[in-house]
């Protein structure tokens, strides 16, 4: 059982584990692992709280119903699984600013949150624009050999590498 309390596993073991997990999500639930659609559903559910039923008439929410589904449960599960894993290894800690960030940008929490918020908006907007994220396209779509997913995954990294260079090499 020592294995479960280790802080980090080999990325090849973790990746293979995710591969095997995806066999079972298909076999048992007929679903690919994915995450980003859930954030659209959550956005729709919140909008419904404020603006009522008419939100369901929006063309986007006709296609992506603002309700709890298999994938949203998966996302909730990810929170629990990561909590369990980090508690077991003693890696759990409350932290506002990651260390690589603070090395370059200092310890100003507000700065980290403003940039993080901007990043979050682009992530949400971009993942729904592309119809998938690092898991839906990057893992589940590429393993199905979908052309849309390979293009998306490559663009995720092109955009990410360019922005990371801009942040850490040009601005700093």
């Amino acid at each position: 059982m020592n294995w479960f309390i280790e802080a980090q596993w080999s990325p090849y073991i973790v990746g293979s584990g995710i591969g095997v997990l995806s066999w079972f999500t298909w076999l048992i639930s007929s679903e690919p692992i994915g995450c980003s659609t859930s954030f659209s559903r959550i956005a729709g559910m919140l909008e419904k709280l404020f603006r009522g039923k008419k939100v369901e008439k929006k063309p986007y929410y006709q296609e992506v119903k603002p309700e709890i589904d298999w994938q949203m449960m998966l996302v909730f599960g990810v929170v629990i699984g990561a909590l369990l894993s980090s508690l077991l290894s003693g890696d759990f800690n409350f932290q506002w600013i990651p260390s690589v960030w603070s090395l370059s940008f200092g310890d100003n929490v507000a700065l980290r949150l403003v940039v993080g918020f901007a990043g979050g908006i682009l992530l949400g907007f971009g993942s729904r624009w592309a119809d998938g994220c690092t898991s839906g396209h990057g893992i589940s779509g590429t393993m199905q050999l979908a052309v849309s997913s390979w293009i998306s995954a490559i663009c995720f990294f092109i955009g990410g590498i360019l922005m990371a260079q801009l942040l850490f090499k040009v601005i700093i």
Binding site: P11, G19, Q95, C133, L145, V147, S148, M163
Partner: protein, 180 residues
Amino acid sequence: MKTKRMKLLWGLLFGIIFGFLLQKGGVTKYDVIINQLLLIDFTVLKIMLSAVVVGMVGLYFMQNRGWIKLRPKAGSWGKNVIGGLIFGAGFALLGYCPGTIAGAIGNGYLDALTAGLVGIVFGSGLLAACYPGLKDGVLKKGYFGNMTLPQVFKVNNWVIIIPLAILIIVLFFILERAGF
């Protein structure tokens, strides 16, 4: 009703395993993700590509046997390239993605729980608001449907799967040899 609830329960269980693996892989951490995008640490790529090798062999085997029916997503250049680049920029600014942010929250990271989570939900809602204007325009530009790589090259699935798996494994050896 009962089967629907069972399905949700399976989703939760799969999510717990997924989150456990992501945390053990280190990808619930901003530092690991940003170091991948800075090309210093290749953990993210190693995890994703190992999942692809193991996943595709198993999925296509099961599809050949008729056990499952895969659903590759339809796409277009306007959808996947532009959306992908916007996503990438956000990926680097936040340092989490929609899946790993859930893991980061479980790991106790408060930048993920506050700014990151609110941002993703807000950005997703924003796209839903813009959707009527995009749907028949840029999202349809260069539409190619739900093509798979074997269909593009008009070959049997395994003619892509086996060389691709070998290529990825060779890449792993190169990465390890180069000290990544």
